[in-house]
């Protein structure tokens, strides 16, 4: 059983997610060219990290749970890797 977490961490993470969402929307209107995608994906990665660490409580877990969480990420990598292989090599 994990020790009880003060809700402030959850509220803080939620506010951070909302702020990052607002940032994503705002930056989407800046003419950064290819940089728009990079910025959006970077913010998205930070948001996913916050969800994993705070809401999924992975920061307090170890061993097997982290392996399974990592497996999810690894499998997403497979989807992106083999999926983009088609898009990048089409003639």
């Amino acid at each position: 059983m994990t020790e009880w977490r003060p809700p402030i961490a959850l509220v803080g993470a939620w506010l951070a997610l909302l702020a990052l969402l607002a940032l994503t929307v705002a930056l989407a209107y800046l003419p950064l060219g290819a940089g728009n995608g990079v910025v959006a994906l970077t913010i998205g990665t930070i948001k996913a990290g916050l969800v994993a660490a705070i809401f999924m409580e992975l920061r307090h877990r170890g061993g097997l749970t982290l392996i399974f969480a990592g497996a999810g990420l690894f499998w997403l990598g497979i989807l992106l890797w083999l999926g983009s292989m088609d898009f990048l090599t089409r003639t």
Partner: protein, 535 residues
């Protein structure tokens, strides 16, 4: 039969519909799946009747589209995927590992309710007018052109997916955390290794299906450009996402069947499984490599040649662990004391039919041949050899094997063997002609065809009639045995697994005392330390 078992603890409807006992939930799933099996089977029957003649006699093309879509959706998501895990797995997993229940009993009950909700939504879509996209929901047809109940059906499948995830999660945690003292990983029955691998796929792949269906619904409903190239989408993205789930889903369907076959071949050869560790790790290898092959469904879709070559190569690789299993089952039979009881007949049928399904799969993994065979009956025959010849046969084998444990009753061996032989005969008569039809170029998903294909289609429809009768037979003799069959002893097969060391049917919490495991699995040549309880 012991005085108090899980069937006799309480007889009220409430005790069934609010139960958290894994055995009762397995029965709830079992009853539901019988219903869905016959709904899907009714569509198949209509299809085969229509195809008995070259012209359209029974249904229009539009109705035919809805029939094969209904058949596919119901059979894949509401029968094959949950079949062994949620019925036999739910019942047997805690018994096999010496536990009182699954790790999350309430989650288990919730998974059944979620499954039924998904099933009801899908049935509503069918009754309201049906879906004509095929079970694959391919875009742009599903998003732009189809006038059928696409979103409702997709919602049903979407909901049912959560049931799969909950079951997978439950099995993973249960197998990790609730094994009896002494039950190390290498002492686990191979059925559990295969269910573990299946669960990993369920948890990792099913969310992608949910995302895919959600994206499809978003494009159809809101016109957001995801798959439609006119508004910035990519039409092949849907197929990539869909098959990223749906090819591993093939292994969700077949791996539990392979697990059952390990138990059957070993028990009825009275030998331990040849190459236990290889078979165990092959389950995980199939689960892992199965995620790298989805593009072989897209060889003619416009996918790049480089991608096709890679997916073709990987498809050959994934056949290796499957082949290892087939060789190991055969080696297990070698010099065994083979008993041709009904479960063993199903197991032997599985090995032969799965091998044909697997080998035809290698044909389709070849780029050049696949171009010829895509969307022909060759593909239809191939996956039915795996799904029906393999998985359904294994399901029936497992059902007969564990039936005395589940019900505490013995079935008629004569009728069970007759049904097993009829299923094997009927199945081959149904689907072998389809291999020939496909090789000759008959396309799938048409309700009319050139007259020169009629002979093979008549044979196939005749086989389907035999198969239908054979599939109905267990409903009668197993149903009869559940109420009037001879009482089953605790261990009718004289098998060493933990599930056979408790009474038949088991008590509510499975074991009177916590079992302790002191030996390897499948030790058929040793006397048991604990004498079977002939309850």
């Amino acid at each position: 039969m012991s005085e108090k078992n899980y069937l006799t603890t309480d007889f009220t409807l409430r005790s069934w519909f609010l139960t958290t006992d894994h055995k009762r939930i397995a029965i709830l799933y079992f009853a539901s799946l019988i219903f869905f099996f016959f709904v899907g089977g009714a569509a198949a029957t209509a299809i085969r009747i229509e195809l008995a003649t070259p012209q359209a006699d029974l249904v229009s093309s539009d109705v035919y589209n809805r029939l094969f879509t209904m058949h596919g959706i119901i059979m894949v998501w509401f029968f094959l995927i949950p079949s062994i895990p949620n019925t036999l797995g739910n019942f047997i997993v805690p018994l096999m590992i010496g536990a009182r229940d699954l790790a999350f009993p309430r989650l288990n009950l919730m998974s059944w309710y979620v499954f039924m909700l998904g099933g009801c939504v899908t049935l509503f879509a069918i009754l309201a007018g049906g879906i004509d996209t095929g079970w694959t929901f391919y875009t742009p047809f599903s998003t732009l052109y189809s006038n059928s109940y696409v979103i409702v059906a997709a919602a049903g499948v979407f909901i049912a997916g959560f049931s799969s995830i909950l079951t997978g999660l439950n099995f993973i945690v249960t197998i990790h955390r609730l094994r009896a003292p002494g039950l190390t990983w290498y002492r686990l029955p191979l059925f559990l290794w295969s269910l573990y691998a299946t669960s990993v796929i369920l948890v990792l792949a099913t969310p992608v299906l949910a995302i895919t269906l959600l994206l499809m619904a978003t494009e159809r409903f809101f016109g957001v450009g995801i798959f439609d190239p006119r508004i910035g989408g990519d039409p092949l993205l849907f197929q990539h996402l869909f098959w990223f789930y749906s090819h591993p889903a093939v292994y969700i369907m077949i791996l539990p069947g392979m697990g059952v076959i390990n138990e059957l071949v070993s028990c009825f050869s009275r030998k331990e499984v040849f190459g236990y560790k290889f078979v165990a790790w092959c389950s995980l290898a199939i689960a892992a490599v199965g995620f790298l092959v989805w593009g072989h469904h897209m060889f003619v879709s416009g996918q790049s040649l480089v991608a096709s070559l890679v997916f073709s190569f990987m498809s050959f690789i994934v056949a290796v662990p499957s082949a290892i299993k087939v060789f190991n089952w055969t080696a297990t039979l070698h010099k065994g004391s083979i008993h041709f009881d009904a479960p063993m007949l199903y197991a032997l049928a599985f090995i032969g039919l799965f091998t044909i399904g697997g080998l035809t799969g290698l044909f389709l993994a070849c780029l050049a041949y696949d171009v010829h065979a895509t969307d022909t009956y060759f593909v239809v025959a191939h996956f039915h050899y795996i799904m029906v010849g393999g998985m359904v046969t294994a399901y029936f084998g497992g059902l007969h094997y564990w039936w005395p444990k589940i019900t505490g009753r013995l079935y008629s061996e004569y009728w069970a063997r007759t049904a097993a032989v009829l299923i094997f005969f009927g199945f081959n008569l149904t689907f072998f002609p389809q291999i020939i039809l496909g090789a000759e170029g008959m396309p799938r998903r048409y309700h009319v065809y050139p007259p020169e294909f009629q002979v093979w289609n008549v044979l196939s429809s005749g086989g389907a009639a035999i198969l239908a009768v054979a599939y109905l037979m267990p409903l009668f003799y197993l149903g009869y045995s559940a109420f009037f069959g001879k009482r089953a002893p605790a261990n009718p097969w004289d098998a060493p697994g933990l599930e056979w060391q408790t009474s038949s049917p088991p008590p509510e919490f499975n074991f009177e005392t916590q079992p302790v495991v002191t030996r390897e699995p499948y030790q058929y040549n040793e006397r048991f330390e604990a004498e079977p309880q002939n309850a």
